[in-house]
């Protein structure tokens, strides 16, 4: 069964500190993983996808197939990073997405 796990519901860090939001997955196939973000009173939006291997707003995420993880990292957190972050996995068919329960990140000034 496909499953995405985000073990932390809440995470608080101080501004300028490194931040890591954890995501683990289980999937019987080649996973395609995403991080979505939802800022206060805004819609869900894509932050990054693993196949792009890009850095968006200073965030990076590396797919570790051995550990079945896709943790989101940023070396220096900013106040504007405070938001809800969702890890998501797309099915092989491309037509179904599985979301984690989300991690609420608060960056303390």
């Amino acid at each position: 069964a496909q499953r995405v796990t985000q073990p932390e519901k809440l995470l608080s860090v101080f501004k300028g500190a490194p931040v890591e939001l954890k995501c683990n997955y289980s999937y019987s196939g080649s996973p395609e993983l995403f991080w979505y973000v939802q800022y206060s009173r805004q819609r869900l939006q894509l932050l990054l996808r693993h196949i792009s291997r890009e850095s968006i707003k200073g965030f990076t995420a590396d797919l570790n197939k051995g550990e079945t993880s896709f943790h989101l990292k940023k070396p220096f957190a900013q106040e504007e990073d405070s938001a809800m972050y969702y890890c998501a996995l797309r099915s092989n068919t491309g037509n179904q997405f599985y979301f984690g329960t989300g991690t609420s990140l608060t960056v303390i000034p």
Binding site: R43, L44, L46, R49, G94, Q96, F97, F99, T101, G102
Partner: protein, 115 residues
């Protein structure tokens, strides 16, 4: 920049009533999705729709639910005989064609409350 829109933003209904949630996907997108998020829980996939038919659906999407693209712009989710546990935020999303579609774009959601 084009966006997915959803109406209404809030809907209150009595248990047993039918509701229709409306979505206008981004105009050149061909894949459409519905998700729901019960308060405090994760975003759950309901259904995906392509070429005027359902391409995938989850176990949540039972006979109580149906989707339709009645014209060239709207994509609707109908819930027949609503139950209390249908209270949730319902998100529509759309994506471009192809297996390598970049992502899906979400609407702002419709908050449904069943009394």
């Amino acid at each position: 920049e084009p966006e997915v829109t959803q109406t209404p933003s809030h809907q209150v209904t009595q248990m047993g009533q039918e509701v229709i949630l409306r979505c206008v996907p981004i105009s050149n997108h061909l894949y459409f999705y519905w998700y729901r998020q019960i308060l405090g829980q994760k975003v759950e996939f309901l259904v995906s729709f392509y070429n005027n038919e359902i391409s995938e659906k989850s176990e949540i999407f039972d006979d109580q639910f149906s989707v339709e693209r009645p014209d060239g712009s709207n994509f609707t989710l109908k819930i027949r005989s609503t139950k209390l546990e249908d209270s949730a935020m319902y998100f529509c999303a759309s994506g471009k064609q192809g297996l390598n579609q970049e992502t899906q774009y979400f609407g702002p959601g419709t908050r449904l409350l069943v009394l």
